[in-house]
């Protein structure tokens, strides 16, 4: 049983337009503690705009978002304290090692740990030990994603937002990534994952939201996800409302 207190990511009647283009139109969503929500939609559907509003980089025209009860428009610093974010391309300092990147990004967030503890975090995300002190520019995309997750874990944020996290990963790396996401969810982190990867969405998500042309066109809970073929549901919505 969940209560309002369990809701970590809250999107209420969110609308945003850029000039004549309506990027988001009255979108409502919630992600609870320990829940993984997959946000699906074609390019231009409004996924990134939603994420930017959640991260406090974009002002909504109408509606509001809350992260652990804090509206980023009102208190961006506190809202971001509860938030971790992993983009499609995890942007690390290429000449620093994975460990140095983890230490730097964590200390910026005022996370104080010993070097051993930071190494333990990298071990937790299954980054090979020999890579800890190698410069990140020698890492594969999967390895960089792991460092990104380690940064998110170190921050102990209540909400994690992922933007196309498995794009470009090989199946094995994608699977490993998926395991890490599940681990975080079990630890109680609310996860919102914008993705095109329908397979991973069906495998990992506890709920799925489909956006098209800025509107939330469908929402599936865990039981519904188990009983439908996600791809056909997705395509039905996208074809029904062609993006022209």
């Amino acid at each position: 049983m969940t209560t309002n207190q369990d809701v970590i990511i809250e999107i209420n009647q969110l609308s945003k337009h850029f000039g004549d283009y309506q990027a988001l139109n009255d979108v409502n969503l919630t992600v609870k503690q320990g829940e993984v929500l997959a946000l699906l939609g074609p390019n231009g559907a409004g996924k990134t705009t939603t994420i930017n509003c959640l991260l406090g980089f974009l002002k909504p025209d109408n509606g509001q978002v809350r992260i652990a009860g804090v509206n980023p428009q009102q208190n961006v610093v506190n809202a971001r304290k509860n938030l971790a974010y992993i983009p499609e391309q995890v942007a690390l300092y290429p000449r620093l090692s994975g460990l140095e990147n983890l230490v730097y990004f964590s200390k910026v967030a005022k996370v104080e740990k010993s070097e051993q503890e930071f190494k333990a975090l990298l071990e937790q995300v299954a980054l090979p030990a020999h890579a800890f002190n190698k410069p990140v520019n020698s890492y594969s995309k999967g390895m960089r994603q792991k460092v990104g997750i380690a940064i998110a874990i170190a921050k102990q944020a209540k909400a994690l937002i992922l933007d196309e996290p498995t794009s470009g990963l090989d199946p094995s790396a994608s699977y490993e990534f998926s395991q890490l996401i599940q681990q975080l969810a079990k630890q109680g982190v609310a996860i919102l994952m914008a993705t095109h990867d329908l397979f991973r969405a069906q495998e990992d998500a506890h709920s799925v939201a489909i956006l098209n042309q800025g509107r939330l066109v469908d929402y599936l809970n865990f039981e519904q996800i188990q009983t439908v073929q996600l791809e056909s549901v997705y395509l039905k919505h996208i074809k029904a409302e062609p993006s022209c």
Binding site: F18, N52, L55, G56, F57, L58, K59, P72, Q73, V76, V77, R80, K81, L83, A84, Y85, P87, Q89, V90, A91, L92, Y93, R95, L96, E100, Y104, F105, S106, K107, V108, A109, K110, P135, I151, K155
Partner: protein, 488 residues
């Protein structure tokens, strides 16, 4: 937080080949440019030392040989005799006016390579001694000597631009800034510390290297000199660093930032000074030197032709020197009278040159405020003692010394002539009329002071402050929510 950002930035930059290249270039250029400036000032020192030695030696030789000279009965021509007033006055006097380089001279040669820094004085027309040089435009920055000032003005800004053009924007473009902002970083702190580290990578090695060399090479170069030099250079470099911050805070691409910053460098360091030079030259054209020389010859010919008339005029102007002697019109008195007549006739021409020089200087003083490069260059050249102000003081002192010598010989020669020391000519034999050479006026160097940093540098401080304010306003926007365009 600041320490964390600085150490990470240093670690990150240190692993980049460009940083090592910049450090190496800074150190090599600092050492080379110091060596060039030092060699120049040493060469001036050497020439001045020889001149002063020659002057002392001449007095000493005269003192030692006086007894022998007085015992000589053979005929010596007066123009070959160091004890003859006329020989000393017109041919043999060893009397120098010098402007020794200061301890700070290696910093900026400035226009010291075209300014006269020593004169061998003679009692000829002053136009032949002190008025024979044209000053080039004092704002002339192009084609300067490769000295520390050259490196400061031209090279250091480029190195600072080379390291700073991608501060913050690199993170903005690659996505690190987005994560850093979500981790709670203050973008103002990030940019400020990035600029500080990148500036330090250029400024600290340069100041360490150049100050060490200046302190080691000259015991007169004081800690105070070192601090003033460091202050001027730091202000200039801070200006470029803050300008880079101002440009990158606009959030354009790194390539655009680099292009804008190089355009700023071109404008401030090359185009504005060159334009100001041209304007100054056009507004205050120097009178024709050929015309001046022609006039000098013409006046000299006229004065010589009207020899008796010139002499009469001389005694009319100097009644205290006139006497009842029947034959004062010997060669030496006539020559002195002719010299003074030529000087008087040339006065108007000299004034025209001086007036133009003054106007050019006034324009230069005003124009230099339009570019940080000209402002700082002027401060460095003045501080090094090779600037126009010290040179003008020196030239004024030389003119006064010339006048003192002229007065001394005029009085002595006329008196000797009236006593009949030079008559009859007796085949132009010398007369020992000047037995103690120490009575000849010596040049007193009164222009040794180093100029303090000019108040106009406050303009640079104000510019830095304004850039800093505007940059902070822009950067704070980067992390906040935007209405239309996400900036990270």
């Amino acid at each position: 937080m600041n320490r964390l950002i600085i150490t990470t930035e240093l670690k990150n930059l240190w692993r980049e080949k460009l940083t090592v290249a910049v450090l190496s270039i800074t150190l090599i250029f600092a050492a080379l440019s110091f060596y060039n400036g030092y060699q120049f000032s040493q060469a001036q020192h050497a020439v001045i030392d020889i001149a002063q030695q020659e002057q002392l030696s001449a007095i000493e030789t005269a003192q030692n040989s006086l007894t022998q000279r007085l015992s000589e009965q053979g005929s010596i021509k007066w123009w070959e005799d160091i004890y003859d007033l006329r020989g000393q006055a017109f041919y043999l006097m060893v009397n120098y006016a010098t402007k020794p380089p200061l301890a700070t001279a290696p910093i900026a040669v400035g226009q010291a390579d075209v300014f006269p820094y020593y004169f061998r004085m003679l009692i000829s027309e002053k136009q032949n001694v002190v008025q024979q040089y044209d000053y080039v435009n004092p704002l002339q920055l192009l084609l300067g000597q490769f000295d520390l000032a050259f490196v400061v003005i031209y090279i250091l800004p480029l190195l600072i631009i080379g390291l700073s053009y991608n501060a913050l924007t690199q993170e903005q473009q690659t996505g690190q800034l987005r994560i850093l902002l979500l981790q709670g970083i203050n973008p103002q702190h990030l940019l400020k510390n990035q600029l500080l580290v990148r500036l330090s990578l250029v400024l600290v090695p340069f100041l360490l290297c150049s100050n060490s060399l200046l302190l080691l090479s000259n015991k007169d170069f004081t800690i105070q000199n070192s601090l003033i030099f460091s202050l001027i250079v730091s202000l200039y470099c801070l200006f470029w660093s803050y300008l880079a911050g101002f440009i990158v805070s606009k959030g354009k691409s790194t390539a655009t930032n680099a292009a804008i910053l190089v355009a700023c460098w071109l404008a401030f360091v090359i185009i504005i000074p060159a334009t100001l030079n041209t304007l100054n030259g056009a507004a205050n054209p120097t009178p024709s030197r050929i015309h001046y020389v022609d006039s000098l010859r013409e006046q000299a010919d006229s004065a010589k032709k009207a020899s008796e008339k010139t002499l009469a005029k001389f005694f009319q102007d100097h009644p205290e020197l006139a006497s009842t002697n029947d034959n004062p019109s010997d060669y030496a008195t006539k020559k002195i009278a002719t010299i003074i007549a030529i000087e008087q006739a040339m006065h108007a021409f000299d004034q025209a040159f001086l007036q133009i020089q003054d106007q050019q200087s006034q324009y230069a003083q005003a124009f230099k405020l339009l570019s940080p490069a000209t402002l700082v260059y002027s401060a460095l050249v003045d501080f090094s003692g090779n600037g126009l102000t010290r040179q003008q003081d020196f030239m004024q002192a030389v003119a006064q010394h010339h006048q003192a010598l002229q007065q001394f010989y005029k009085t002595q020669i006329v008196a000797a002539s009236q006593r009949g020391d030079f008559t009859p000519c007796r085949g132009c034999n010398a007369r020992p009329t000047l037995k103690d050479l120490t009575v000849i006026p010596q040049f007193k160097n009164t222009v040794n002071d180093t100029s303090p940093p000019p108040w106009s540098l406050i303009l640079l401080v104000l510019a830095i402050f304004a850039l800093s304010l505007k940059t902070n306003q822009r950067v704070i926007q980067i992390g906040s929510a935007q209405s239309q365009e996400v900036r990270v």
